[in-house]
Amino acid sequence: MNLKRSKSLTWLLWLIPLAFLLVFFYQPLLAIFRQVFSERFSQGWQFFSWAQITKPLGFTLWQASLSTFFTLLIGLPAAYLFARFDFPGRKTLRSISLLPFILPTVVVATAFNSLIGPKGWLNLILMNLFNLNNPPLNLLNSMPAIILAHVFFNTSIIIRMVGNSLSRLNPHYDEAARVLNASPWQAFREVSLPLLLPSILGASLLVFLFNFTSFGVVLMLGGPQFATLEVEIYNQAMNRFNLPMAGLLSIIQLVFTLLITTIQNRLNKPRFGKAALSSERKTLKKPTTKWQKLFVVFMVIILIILFVSPILSLVSRSLVTFEAARGERGNVETGFTLRYYQELFKNTSGSIFYANPLAAIRNSLVYSLLTMLIATTMGLLSAYALNNSNKANRWLEPLFMLPLGASPVILGLGFLISFNHPPWTSGPYPILIPIAHSLIALPFVVRTILPALQSIPNSLREAAGVMGAKPFRVFMEVDLPILLRAIIVSLTFSFTISLGEFGASSFLANARTPTIPVTIFRYLSQPGALNYGQALAMSTLLLITSALGSLLIEKIRLPGEELF
């Protein structure tokens, strides 16, 4: 191979992921725009009323602000707790606090349902205590339920990002301030707070963004009266078949998302050089004063309630029948049971509309395996393309980075508009779903592989080349061994993301080809103890798989790599 041809091969690296993004990301996006604006030309702006936009937009902003506020309320002291204090069980509690980030939304929604829902532990306990016939608390379908789930999800982001800066903040700054006659409060206000502020703001905006684009949680815990933009997009598209309206809401959603991401990227730039945040320091101390001990105990209790109780509740509730009064026909049954799990693996095709769970599990596994392959291959190619310091790079890089903020719901809508026909929808496992999942997993894959790739000095490849290795040999002998960890992490990541993905799947998985999360959602919206139990059982299985996946990632991942 001569030099010229190897250059053109580099171009090929660009072309494959670029074509993938053009066809499967930009084309559907364009289709949404076309749908909206062709409607506008045929009807004028008559097809909607402003209230249809301002109401969900207003609610989205409102719930995102409230959720972010409460997340900070718990997240900041929690970050301080983990960054400063050493106490028994610290490591375990920290791992548990970081777990929610990787949990699928359906699992979280089901977990909270099992805790505060009408058939949840809280109501069962109250009914048992006071001999009631009906669940006394109606916490589901309420604002607190949404906020609680958002706090559960996003506190881990604050703990990770702010906690990181806290433990890397040079303790001499605070001490220097105090030696310069500043009281502890003045030292905090004048020195520590300004130094931490960029990371607090950055984390808050990220949390806000996640709350803003929250879909599954709001759909499942909020009920019909609460619709965020994303839920409204889903309603318009799937229940009212008003695609132009869904498209318009998507455009508005996209504009806001881009705006928030831009601000967030600005804030994320390091501002005070390396000096302020140096390598991790040994800042852990045992709580000594009375107030410190009180703080630690208080926070540990809060965090256990917030993080452990929903998960424990989900797992335990899936193993217990506890049917009060008007449950099913016959006697009231209480006690330990494996029935919900056994039912999952029985091939009863009783209902036509709600496909059997076994098929869902099989489908999800196939989709996840396909996603794993597509996302990691595209991620590898994209990382290589982005790593090349070409002139074209500056041109093309934004094209690659834009999909990083893609919302699954908008992706689902775009796919519904562009690809809702054969060959995309034919076959036992329509390729559409793994492609959508791959686009969602792609940013995580690129962010995992690119730093590893950048860490390989080019001299290694040159050395191998000088010693006679052909380009493919160089890749196999130099790049691959170094990238292996990152590739395994990417494979695991895309697998777990696909397994738990709900937003795009809710648009694309029809009754013939359901996935696990979609099936859980359907079970949960059906009455009856068996449906409820099966939703819990399936969520528990998904929970275990996701937890194992994240455990694997944590074990393999190199320290210092951040995923968001």
Binding site: N170, H172, Y173, E175, A176, A177, R178, V179, L180, N181, A182, S183, P184, Q186, A187, E190, V191, P194, L195, R271, F272, G273, A275, A276
Partner: protein, 344 residues
């Protein structure tokens, strides 16, 4: 006047400071000298109120300040990494301590100008501290510590982060600035050159205790024990054991001093033989020690030659005014007045 009394402090369950006491008088510069891990920085942090001792007390002008909050002590402290606030400019860093004690704005501005003029950095007032070189950061850190006119100034290895050339240059400047300030100063270092150049009094810390407390010259001439001599690199240290009647035995033979030694018979000692006191190829009654040796290495060090010799298996360092070739047989001697015996 600062009085430190019987300070004890454990670190990670191990004793770090085992009863430290000393004083710092008005206008005096005291150096805490010791190897890393000797607890000298911790001692300094306890005086500053950044750490609390397990027991013992700190007095300032007779007042017990052991539990007084840091910011009420009115002491200055300079960190090894300077800890200049990265989100503030040079001028704002220097102004910080003045603002905290509530000085009026115009007075602060004037004092900051004066501080900057003292370190010849007026042009840097509005620079970010992250843009400064190591030496500039060091100057600003000292100016910041001195600006609020502290009663006592503490410096924790202030030259530790700099390379050798800059160090020598800044050491001179530091010496001048510290003497001009006429403040009591406690200076922590592991570098004996810094300690000798700067201090009025040296405190050698080893194993959680003050091993010796004296002026640099006295420490140099009469090290308190074997560790001090070894830490300061004063010369050849030869293990020995005391015998009755002014005698001791060592690797290089039995030696009899003209006066009885102040040790128990059988006690472990060392002999200190300084290279610069060795006399080459002379013999006579006046020498306490006379050794036959073979030259193994000779290095020209400017004012003399440094010889590595072997005397019956014992390796010694010797200073010689003239060149000696390797492999040559020489005799080396020390008069009794130049042979020191130290306890171990």
């Amino acid at each position: 006047m600062l009085e430190v009394e019987n300070i004890y402090k454990d670190y990670d369950g191990k004793p770090l400071l085992k009863g430290i006491s000393f004083q710092v008088n008005k206008g005096e510069l005291v150096c805490l000298l010791g190897s890393s891990g000797s607890g000298k920085s911790t001692m300094l942090r306890i005086i500053a109120g950044l750490e609390v001792p397990d027991s013992g007390q700190i007095f300032w002008n007779g007042e017990d300040i052991t539990n007084k909050p840091t910011h009420e002590r009115g002491f200055g402290f300079m960190f090894q990494d300077y800890a200049l606030f990265p989100h503030r400019t040079v001028a704002q860093n220097i102004a910080f301590g003045l603002r905290m004690i509530g000085k009026p704005k115009d007075e602060i501005a004037a004092l900051v100008q004066k501080s900057l003029a003292d370190i010849h950095m007026q042009a840097f007032a509005n620079r970010q501290v992250t843009e400064l070189s190591g030496g500039e950061q060091q100057r600003v850190a000292l100016a910041r510590a001195l600006a609020p006119d502290p009663h006592l100034l503490m410096l924790d290895e202030p030259l530790g982060a700099l390379d050798h050339n800059l160090r020598t240059e800044l050491l001179k400047e530091l010496r001048r600035r510290l003497h001009e300030s006429r403040k009591p100063v406690i200076y922590v270092t592991h570098d004996q050159e810094e300690a000798f150049v700067l201090s009025d009094r040296l405190l050698l810390l080893h194993d959680g205790l003050v091993v010796q407390e004296a002026a640099p010259e006295i420490v140099f001439r009469q090290p308190a024990n074997a560790w001090v001599a070894s830490f300061l690199g004063l010369g050849n240290l030869i293990p020995a054991q005391s015998l009755p009647n002014g005698r001791l035995k060592s690797e290089i033979g039995e030696i009899t001093f003209s006066e009885p030694l102040p040790y128990q018979p059988g006690q472990d000692l060392v002999l200190l033989l300084r290279p610069e006191d060795a006399i080459l190829n002379q013999s006579g009654e006046k020498f306490l020690i006379q050794l036959e040796a073979i030259v193994q290495d000779a290095v020209f060090i400017g004012e003399a030659y440094r010889l590595e010799v072997s005397a019956g298996g014992t390796k010694l360092l010797i200073q010689s005014p003239r060149a000696v070739s390797i492999g040559e047989k020489i005799s080396i001697s020390w008069p009794e007045s130049k042979v020191q015996h130290l306890s171990r």
